[in-house]
């Protein structure tokens, strides 16, 4: 029982982390129609920047400065690269950001090497928040979850309760009208892109210390984020939240499970057959955990192609 409780908690926090990255992606997509393939690269940049800054400034300042630096990178990318190719259409923008993700990953490899760097959380944060049946639960996980929730509330308030939020939301629906009313829409776009990048950078700076910081982290997380976005429906914040949690929780439940498809088939009297066939049927759920989100995605595609909360195309 405690095992399941731990798994649920871990899953929720991993889901919140996924949400932190997919929220920025969804925000940018909803606003500019650009699917930013390099979004997960911003997550990676956040982790590496924080790793570099940590010895100089200490952990706290590092996780504040790293997202700001990433925001700077994001703004430069939007201003000097994306705006330049905007006239060629959205597919072209997607390709350019795809190229950027390659360039960023290769630069990281050049500067920091191909292997994981030693980015760790500070000793004062490395303690158990509580323990259940003798197993300690790290405080830092709760801290990551707290940051994600705090960020979600901040964005929600910013978008719904402030003047800036009104301009941003209206620029999503009627950019020309907003421009006619005297607002600088390209500036708004640049700001949203920068904030989206900063959110990913913050997620990276915080999570990189707990998980590993290596040049593959962008791809690994990026694929998950894309799955989240397909499952949840692009442009829908609620969908992104639901899908992130769904995938986070199934993932961490599966990691701790010994369930096999063959066991299920034993119930209907086909156990022997399954053992003979082997392959997928006799694989433990725990080793399949990494592939589970993809199966969820395929299922959603068959049952509800527009995503859990997405609008029809």
């Amino acid at each position: 029982m405690d095992q399941i409780l731990f798994a649920l908690l871990n899953g929720t926090i991993y889901g919140l982390l996924l949400f932190m990255v997919s929220a920025g992606l969804t925000l940018i997509f909803g606003m500019m129609g650009v699917l930013n393939f390099a979004h997960a690269s911003f997550y990676m940049l956040g982790a590496y920047f924080a790793y570099t800054l940590q010895p100089l400034t200490g952990f706290w300042l590092a996780i504040i400065l790293a997202p700001i630096l990433v925001m700077g990178v994001g703004i430069l990318v939007e201003r000097f690269i994306l705006r330049h190719v905007h006239e060629h259409g959205h597919a072209h923008e997607l390709l350019v950001t795809f190229g950027l993700s390659v360039v960023i990953a290769e630069m990281i490899k050049m500067v920091y090497g191909k292997f994981a760097v030693d980015y760790r959380l500070p000793a004062e944060l490395n303690f158990a928040a509580f323990s259940l049946s003798g197993i300690d639960y790290p405080f830092y996980r709760l801290f990551m979850g707290g940051i994600a929730i705090g960020m979600f509330i901040a964005i929600y308030l910013l978008l719904t309760k402030t003047r800036v939020g009104i301009v941003v939301r209206s620029a999503i629906y009627r950019p020309q009208m907003v421009e006619a009313l005297g607002h600088n829409v390209p500036m708004v776009f640049m700001g949203v892109f920068g904030i989206g990048a900063a959110l990913a950078g913050l997620a990276g700076a915080v999570a990189g210390a707990f998980y590993t910081t290596n040049p593959n982290m962008a791809l690994e997380l990026g694929v998950m984020v894309f799955v989240v976005v397909v499952v949840g429906g692009l442009g829908s914040m609620g969908g992104a939240m639901a899908a992130s949690l769904l995938i986070g929780i199934t993932n961490s439940l599966a990691v701790g499970s010994d369930f096999r498809l063959a066991d299920l088939m034993t119930w209907v009297g086909m156990g022997g057959f399954a053992e003979e066939v082997g392959g997928l049927l006799t694989m433990r759920m725990s080793s399949l955990a990494a592939t589970l989100p993809f199966f969820i995605m395929l299922l959603v595609l068959v049952l509800r192609p527009s995503g859990l909360m997405g609008e029809k195309e």
């Binding site: 997509f29 699917l35 690269i81 330049h84 190719v85 060629h88 959205h90 597919a91 072209h92 997607l94 390709l95 350019v96 795809f98 190229g99 950027l100 390659v102 360039v103 290769e106 630069m107 490899k109 050049m110 500067v111 090497g113 791809l219 694929v223 894309f226 799955v227 976005v229 397909v230 692009l234 082997g278 392959g279 997928l280 694989m283 080793s287 399949l288 990494a290 592939t291 993809f294 199966f295 995605m297 395929l298 595609l301 068959v302 192609p305 195309e313």
Partner: protein, 408 residues
């Protein structure tokens, strides 16, 4: 375009004569170039003609590679088919997996499609190490090419000709495919899928079919690859294979028929040549791709074809001089950039850092000179060249713009 077919004939003739013209290592590179040209063409069918951007084409390449290896090992090493026909197995497996994957991925269009293809490829990659019987785990599956039809298939020349015949044949088939009604409908799918649906076509089935055909040719390319190295490892399912085909095809230009093939062959050639000169070839490839996408959205071949078809009307002398000035200023910029990147790479490499002993920074040898990283000279040299190059590029662009204005 009357010299088009002539140029094609000359290319094929040179390719046939190649084993007598170049060294063994170059011939090996040529085999790789042919394979990546075919792979890029398969990708180009999907992406250029049907407008569906796949980020996970390595999956079908890999499936074809493994199918060919297993077919070679079938019947105790006798092989399922004679060696020259084995790519058919790769093609068939690619087709079947393409039908399956295409069914799911073409349920959505645009960016969703791209994300689903990526996720499917990652699914394969995550699953492969666990399915030891099929993918052979860490070690992969190896095999031998058996002699068939009086050909030994033991020498590089035999492998080269096998690859050449299959590549030329497949590219020819792809060309014919683009002329069939299904091939024409692919263009319709790219331009206006709504209208196609309105006309009564089943766009989902159409997309699935085109996806499957593309996956089939990718599978053939994969089969040729694993027959070349007589092994397949689940590394062929990794994302960098998918990435490379996207970059190569777009650098060549996906909207002109042979663009992807030329892009694939040229980039593979440079990758081969530069592999002992630089360690950051992938970085250059990425930068070239971003620059091409920003400034030559048609791709290199696409831009060339466009310029030949619609000359600027400046006359040959002006066009040539502009081109030369552009190339010269770009060469200076590129040299500055390459110098900086290579210097940084050497400066940051673990070997160099291991050689640093308290405050003593040894010189770095680059382009026959030794540079001290603490002095200004290497940084100023690289940055200076880069800056001069950029200034020259802007100057040439201004002059061209001014002349255009004067004409108008």
């Amino acid at each position: 375009m009357k010299f088009g077919p002539l140029l094609l004939l000359i290319t094929v003739a040179v390719l046939i004569a190649l084993p007598w013209l170049v060294s063994g290592s170059m011939l090996n590179a040529a085999v790789q170039m042919l394979i990546s040209a075919l792979f890029a063409m398969a990708f180009g069918l999907l992406c250029g003609q049907a407008g569906m951007l796949s980020f996970g084409h390595a999956a079908y390449f890999g499936v074809g590679a493994f199918a060919a290896v297993h077919a070679m090992n079938a019947f105790g090493g006798e092989g399922l088919l004679p060696t020259p026909l084995l790519p058919l197995v790769g093609g068939a497996t690619g087709l079947i997996s393409g039908l399956l994957a295409g069914y799911f991925s073409t349920k959505r269009t645009g960016v969703y499609f791209a994300m689903i293809t990526l996720a499917l490829a990652e699914l394969m990659h995550a699953l492969a190490p666990h399915l030891k019987t099929v993918f052979g785990g860490e070690a992969g599956v190896s095999s031998f090419r058996m002699p068939a039809w009086g050909i030994g298939f033991g020498t590089l020349n035999d492998v080269y000709f096998l690859t050449l015949v299959w590549t030329v044949l497949c590219i020819g088939l792809l060309y014919l495919f683009s002329k069939t009604p299904l091939g024409r409908l692919a263009l319709g799918l790219r331009e206006n899928a709504h209208r196609l649906r309105f006309l009564g076509y089943n766009t989902h089935a159409l997309g699935t079919l085109i996806f499957a055909v593309s996956a089939m040719f990718a599978g053939i390319a994969g089969a040729l690859q694993s027959m070349n190295i007589e092994a397949a490892n689940y590394v062929v399912l990794e994302s960098h294979i998918s990435t490379a085909v996207v970059l190569n095809s777009f650098i060549g230009g996906v909207r002109v028929f042979l663009g992807p093939a030329i892009g694939g062959a040229v980039m593979t050639f440079f990758g081969h040549v530069s592999s002992d000169l630089t360690r950051v070839w992938l970085l250059y490839q990425g930068i070239i791709f971003v620059l091409v996408m920003m400034f030559l959205p048609r791709g290199l071949v696409g831009e060339l074809v466009e310029r030949i078809r619609n000359p600027s009307g400046d006359g040959i002398a002006h066009t040539l001089s502009t081109l030369l000035m552009r190339l010269a200023s770009l060469a200076i910029t590129a040299f500055g950039a390459v110098f900086l990147i290579e210097f940084l790479q050497r400066f940051l490499s673990p070997e160099y850092r291991a050689g640093v002993t308290d405050g003593n920074w040894p010189d770095i040898s680059l382009f026959t000179y030794d540079w001290s990283p603490l002095s200004m000279s290497p940084w100023a040299f690289g940055l200076g060249l880069f800056g001069i190059g950029i200034a020259l590029v802007t100057m040439v662009n201004r002059r061209v713009a001014a002349r255009k204005e004067a004409q108008a």
